[in-house]
């Protein structure tokens, strides 16, 4: 292969200014600073709710990035875990009058179980089977929530107690939690386990041959993603003080996937920017409402065809 050809793969070309900025550890701090200062620019309830939603989207994208970006497992029902978290938290909080914070351990347990239930039987299979099984799983969770008594059926659960009273305070709590989650996923990605994930993504057979227990490693990615999604669900329940099945459609899964793909699979800073763009762009382009998802679909195809590494690709640490 010629050098030019290799460079087109995008991982080992000399870093451009933009990617150096993105890869820089200061980029994360700068992003956090922007998030902290944003309410000082515009603190209307509308702006705060959009910003809080964007922060939750960032958390979801960071979680899905572990599964899809690091490990290469396509999860098309990722909001199922988001739903499981939101519902578990909501049901416990409203039935037993618990504060939301107290539901967090239960949410973690339930999402881990959900991750194992769906991951354990299917992770031995080809990756494209996993994609469609997760799609089915997402639908199962949504339909179940829609039909069960305990989840309030189609109208869902309402009257969930807030995490903190003031919207601005809640925004800062969300930003803090999400920052920790993003930082956590970035550190996971650089850990020994994270390297195993990337190895599995690049070549599963080779990884297996080199002694990586691929099944266990994939399950770990899956469970981590599930927990991230579930915790984002708690934030979501706290933000809206209500959950209903309508928030957990395939569309929602696809939008999170879009954020991950657009930002650059496996690149934490890229994925964060992707999630912010995906959640704020529609607010700006309200007039285009009818064409929004058409545009998203076309964009997904275009990114894969023209820039499969995403807009802000992860820079490989191995190649100097």
């Amino acid at each position: 292969m010629t050098t030019a050809k290799v460079r087109r793969l995008g991982t080992d070309r000399p870093p451009s200014l933009a990617s150096r900025l993105m890869g820089n550890r200061w980029a994360g701090l700068a992003g956090l600073l922007v998030a902290i200062l944003a309410p000082f620019v515009d603190a209307t309830p509308y702006a705060l709710s959009v910003m809080t939603s964007a922060a939750i989207a960032v958390m979801l994208a960071a979680g899905l990035n572990i599964v899809v970006g690091y490990c290469g497992l396509l999860d098309l029902g990722y909001v199922a875990f988001f739903a499981v978290g939101a519902y578990t938290s909501g049901v416990l909080a409203t039935r037993f009058q618990l504060p939301l914070l107290a539901t967090v351990p239960a949410v973690i347990v339930v999402t881990v179980v959900a991750g194992i239930v769906i991951g354990a039987p299917t992770l031995r299979l080809r990756s494209d089977y996993l994609a469609i099984v997760t799609l089915g799983f997402g639908e199962i969770i949504r339909i179940t929530a829609n039909n069960l008594e305990v989840t309030g059926g189609p109208s869902g659960i309402y009257g969930i107690p807030p995490l903190v009273e003031h919207p601005a305070a809640f925004y800062y709590v969300t930003v803090a939690v999400v920052s920790l989650a993003v930082l956590g996923s970035a550190r996971l990605g650089r850990s020994r386990l994270g390297r195993a994930w990337r190895f599995v993504r690049e070549d599963e057979d080779a990884a297996e041959a080199m002694g990586v227990h691929t099944y266990r490693v994939k399950l770990a990615a899956y469970i981590a993603g599930a927990v991230w999604g579930g915790l984002a669900g708690v934030l979501f329940a706290a933000q809206l003080s209500a959950v209903s099945p309508g928030s957990f459609t395939f569309l929602a899964s696809a939008l999170v996937l879009m954020a991950v793909v657009l930002g650059g699979m496996g690149s934490v800073s890229g994925v964060v920017v992707g999630a912010v763009v995906i959640s704020i762009l529609p607010e700006i382009l309200r007039d285009l409402a009818d064409y929004r998802f058409l545009l998203f679909g076309v964009l997904l195809i275009a990114v894969m065809l023209l820039r499969p590494q995403g807009l802000w690709p992860a820079r490989s640490r191995e190649v100097p």
Partner: protein
């Protein structure tokens, strides 16, 4: 009881028709074409548009007219399938599988919301509905229309089976499914055969779309999503990539759903179907008639 069986077989024949395209495409290039269900939706809308353009439907002519519309629709969705393959899938044939899957998701989105932009978000009422008198067969109520539609489905499936097992074209498809590179060396125009496979699969999905429109009487831009999932389930039950298996899987899924609805209630029907999918993938991922394949490294 017999009614349940008939209903199951009837819905099952729809599933089987859609599943065949899924299965063929998967069998030949190992791609899960997520947009396949949306081609079914496209078929339903194309039929809708053609029927609208023809104008009023005279009472006695409904059936022949419907068959003519079916043919036109099959041509349109077939070409749409070919175009999809050309634009979205072919450039990525050597790319990582993940990219291909994501492109397929994007394609599905583009089709769904493209149709929404073109035809609106509200469900449309199909201009033709074959009422027909109901017949009593083995203690079950059936309309003539149902029988005709099942008949059309059977004819299409039988035709496809002949095509794949008996013709040069079918032999080329099977050769590519086994080994695309060697097939190319043997003088098979791989791209052309893959294009034709997409054409046939998409045309069958389009036919199923028109039939579903005429049967249920209502169509909307999201109708393909669920049927795509169901069709995949059907393909997996029978053995994905295996044509008789896929047909069997479709009918079986139809029956399972019919009985599942009876036992558990209609609201759990889809949960039941996907439960079956997960169970099958866990216990027997190659399906009932599929052969155990070893992955080439």
């Amino acid at each position: 009881m017999t009614q349940l069986v008939w209903n199951g077989l009837f819905v099952g024949s729809f599933y089987a028709l859609v599943a065949l395209g899924y299965s063929m495409v998967y069998g030949i290039i190992k791609l899960l074409n997520f947009a396949h269900g949306d081609l079914y939706m496209l078929g339903a809308f194309t039929g809708f548009a053609v029927l609208g353009a023809v104008g009023g439907v005279p009472g006695g002519m409904a059936l022949p007219l419907l068959l003519a519309v079916l043919l036109v629709t099959m041509a349109v969705t077939g070409l749409a399938g070919v175009a999809l393959e050309r634009i979205a899938y072919r450039p990525l044939r050597r790319a990582p599988r993940l990219s291909l899957l994501i492109t397929a998701v994007g394609t599905s989105f583009a089709l769904e919301y493209g149709m929404r932009a073109a035809a609106g978000a509200d469900p449309r009422v199909y201009p033709v509905r074959l009422g027909g008198t109901s017949l009593e067969i083995l203690g079950a109520r059936l309309t003539l229309q149902q029988l005709v539609l099942v008949g059309v489905a059977v004819v299409l499936m039988a035709g496809l089976n002949l095509l794949v097992t008996r013709t040069r074209e079918g032999r080329a498809m099977r050769a590519i499914a086994l080994d695309p590179r060697t097939s190319a060396l043997m003088g098979i125009d791989v791209d052309a055969v893959i294009s034709r496979t997409f054409f046939i699969g998409s045309a069958l999905a389009g036919a199923a779309g028109v039939m579903a429109g005429a049967y249920y009487g209502k169509i909307d831009f999201l109708m393909g999503f669920l049927i795509g999932l169901k069709a995949f389930t059907a393909a997996v039950i029978g053995g994905i990539g295996n044509i008789p298996g896929t047909m069997l899987g479709g009918l079986l899924l139809g029956l399972l759903e019919s009985f599942g609805t009876f036992w558990l209630g209609g609201e759990w029907r889809d949960v039941f179907a996907f439960g079956v999918l997960i169970l099958f993938l866990t216990v027997r991922p190659t399906g009932l008639l599929g052969e155990r394949v070893t992955e080439r490294v």
